[in-house]
């Protein structure tokens, strides 16, 4: 048994950590995260040159990684730096396309920005059709509908859009600026940008090949692992910052870390973060194997619950200063909180975990 990452992966993590610390420290990150683009084209380009996107894909589609642990190390580092560059879209769109088609070279190279546009404004009962429709239109297809809270929709060179056809669900690649494509963009609570995507008769030549449901499942599986690892990175930083604060902030003539009530709370934070690390390791290990769905549900449930604990305790143990924009910690707290709003929250994944257990 060996719980060390391989030397290659450790090098990748170290490279990524050094680059982000240098190119995107939190104040620089905040300027772009809450600004007009929601990400830094320079940092995105720099990470492209480092080949970070390639680590998310297997050799079969032109990458050099693609395992669960590759995804884990990349997103843990992105989480540590609160990076807002659009790797989640890269990963989800790329993994969906890898099911059947070749993945566009630009996605694996980290030069093409891709957005995964599947969720819709309205709720859907299990088995219910998507509201977005794709109908035959001459020798091509026409897409009409809406997609909700699509990360980096405005910046995306391509959007992978799910739609209902008469023969079931299908996926379509829609290029930036396509006629009939309208995006209402906005910043997000935790930094970054997303948008409401509207498709008003957008013309597309053909759906991407392969089983669309399997492709969506592959995208979501990778996305869940990535978000779980990202949360782990963010909670580790929030935990460390809080420990340092307990060691240095003095009240009543002593560092506040001398108070046992606070010592026990930071101890709980530490053990829950280690539990979350184990959950992410379990999911990364199961990735690509049978039973992965349940490990992913367990991981996303765990980081959802632990992320809220860490965010709330980190703020509380810092006191008023923990609520200020100026302190990097508050942005970690926001990211940790909002990860529980992406691809299903802790309750949803707990119920998924129960259902998958019954099915097994």
């Amino acid at each position: 048994m060996d719980f060390q990452h391989s030397e290659d992966r450790q090098m990748l993590a170290d490279t990524l950590r050094r680059y982000l610390a240098d190119a995107a420290p939190v104040d620089a990150r905040n300027r772009v995260a809450y600004g007009e683009t929601g990400y830094s084209p320079e940092v995105w380009a720099g990470l492209g040159e480092l080949g970070i996107a390639g680590a998310l894909f297997g050799e079969d589609v032109g990458g050099f990684g693609g395992s669960g642990f590759d995804i884990m190390v990349v997103f843990e580092e992105l989480g540590r730096a609160l990076a807002v560059e659009p790797f989640l879209g890269t990963l989800m769109v790329g993994r969906a396309l890898a099911i059947a088609d070749a993945v566009p070279e630009g996605i694996v190279a980290g030069t093409t920005i891709a957005a995964f546009a599947h969720a819709e404004p309205q709720d859907r009962a299990p088995g219910e059709a998507l509201a977005t429709r794709a109908v035959r239109d001459g020798d091509g297809w026409s897409l009409t509908g809406a997609k909700a809270v699509v990360a980096q929709a405005e910046a995306a060179d391509v959007l992978l859009v799910s739609a209902q056809t008469d023969a079931g669900m299908a996926l379509f690649l829609v290029s930036k600026g396509a006629e009939g494509l309208a995006i209402h963009g906005y910043n997000t609570v935790d930094g970054g940008r997303a948008g409401e995507v509207r498709l008003n008769g957008v013309r597309v030549a053909a759906p991407v090949g392969g089983d669309a449901e399997a492709a969506i499942a592959a995208a979501e599986a990778a996305g869940l692992l990535a978000l779980s690892a990202e949360a782990l990175g963010a909670m580790d930083v929030a935990k460390t910052a809080t420990i340092e604060y307990l060691q240095t902030r003095k009240q009543f003539g002593v560092p506040i870390g001398k108070f046992q009530a606070l010592q026990h709370r930071i101890a709980t934070v530490l053990l829950e973060v280690e539990q979350a690390r184990s959950a992410v390791i379990n999911a990364a290990d199961a990735f690509g194997k049978p039973g992965v769905e349940r490990a992913l549900a367990a991981a996303k449930y765990t980081v959802g619950a632990t992320g809220q604990l860490v965010a709330e305790e980190a703020i509380q143990l810092h006191g008023g200063i923990g609520m200020t924009w100026e302190l990097p910690l508050s942005h970690y707290a926001k990211r940790l909180t909002m990860i529980d709003h992406q691809l299903g929250d802790q309750d949803e994944h707990l119920q998924r975990y129960i259902a998958l257990g019954r099915a097994a």
Partner: protein, 398 residues
């Protein structure tokens, strides 16, 4: 045991309700209900409406303009105000400074300042916390040195809520640097227009700037602005803090927030079912509802004890802890209810008169900012950890 109100108290509740129905502007209750920001003018407007009815200073003695209510009536009034989504009364002048002036101020100070608090001439803010003096408030360093008939004040206050609107600040200052921490503190009233005062906003994590830092550089304050005796300020400060903690349970506002949550959860569906039918979501709601019902009775037990002349002890700390925990749990669940639509952040949409395209269900945009903003509840007014220290000191006594 009898948990019911007297017929007189019920009649009073009806009177408060009909007043609110008639006089509370829908524009204001709408803002409160939807988590939109209130402007200075909104707060001033509501104060003026209450003052016209004689209900603004609900806990002041009648001779200074209070309505002469019992503890129970005050509790009913606060409860009904919150349930009607009335804006909260800005507490700094009315609930914090005024009780101190009434108990410890000079006759001139009472005659001068109290009417100006009532009619809105003076907006007050609180100068207590400092960067190095939070939970350990008595370690404050802002100094006031006597120079003829003035004090010269130097130092810094922080977390000054709504200080950007304030005409005056009441400050704890150190007048005897050689005495023990609690014994060298005085309570000083300072005109915010004085030379040498600078107010800098602190932006909070939700992007809001409701708190400030206030810097004092050689600010000259007339000695008649001292409240009570020099070096006795800590006694007045502690008295003020007991007032700060009245209605700390916030039963009414939590009940109103819970009703909104219940309504939202009935409308939003996930996987084809309303959230109220989702077993985990429903369980989270039920736990809060039970906790809130329990706290409402705990609160009334404290009110009844106070009506019988009992002095509040550990109870106000208990209510502060439980009340803030419940309110925070409601805001967390409200945020959770909106799923992905809690993610968009459109600050303009949280202002009055936003005409842009709405994103997501109604009120989704306020859910996450409100959740983050309400983290302050367990930190300010004596953090919940400090409250637990107070309780354990009283019960364990070691």
């Amino acid at each position: 045991m009898d948990l019911s109100f007297t017929p007189e108290e019920e009649a009073f509740r009806d009177e408060v309700r009909s007043f609110l129905k008639e006089k509370l502007p829908a524009r204001l209750s709408n803002k409160v209900a939807h988590g939109l920001s209130l402007t200075r003018d909104d707060m001033v407007e509501w104060h003026a409406i209450l003052n016209a009815r004689g209900w603004l200073a609900s806990h002041w003695p009648e001779q200074y303009g209070g309505p002469g209510w019992t503890v129970v009536q005050r509790s009913i009034f606060e409860d009904e105000m919150a349930r009607a989504n009335a804006p909260r009364i800005v507490p700094f002048g009315l609930s914090m400074l005024a009780p101190v002036l009434i108990k410890y101020g000079s006759e001139e100070q009472k005659q001068h300042y109290l009417p100006r608090i009532l009619d809105g001439t003076d907006w007050w803010c609180q100068g207590y916390s400092e960067p190095g003096a939070g939970s350990d408030l008595a370690s404050l360093k802002t100094s006031a040195v006597r120079d003829g008939d003035h004090y010269v004040v130097n130092g810094q206050k922080t977390w000054t809520t709504l200080g950007q609107f304030a005409d005056w600040i009441f400050c704890l200052v150190r007048t005897d640097p050689t005495a023990k921490a609690q014994e060298g503190i005085s309570f000083l009233l300072i005109d915010m227009k004085s030379q040498g005062i600078e107010v800098r906003p602190i932006v909070l994590l939700d992007g809001d700037a409701e708190v400030n830092e206030v810097f004092f550089t050689d600010v000259r304050v007339p000695v008649e602005n001292l409240v009570g005796q020099e070096n006795k300020g800590w006694t007045y400060a502690k008295y003020l803090l007991t007032y700060e903690r009245t209605n700390i349970a916030g039963v009414g506002s939590s009940a109103a927030a819970f009703d909104r949550l219940r309504s939202v959860a009935g409308k939003i569906t996930r996987g084809g079912k309303p959230l109220t039918d989702d077993p985990l979501f429903a369980a989270r709601m039920a736990r809060i509802e039970i906790d809130l019902a329990n706290m409402a009775t705990t609160n009334m037990r404290v009110v009844a004890a106070a009506a019988g002349g009992g002095a509040p002890g550990a109870e106000s700390s208990m209510l502060k802890i439980k009340g803030t925990e419940i309110r925070q749990a409601i805001t967390a669940l409200s945020r959770r209810a909106y799923g992905a639509y809690a993610i968009p952040f459109i600050p303009e949409a949280l202002e009055d008169g936003y005409n842009g395209e709405p994103v997501g269900p109604e009120d989704a945009g306020a859910a996450a900012p409100t959740y983050f903003n309400m983290r302050k509840l367990s930190i300010f007014g004596g953090s919940n950890e400090v409250q637990k220290n107070i309780i354990s000191k009283m019960i364990v006594g070691l």
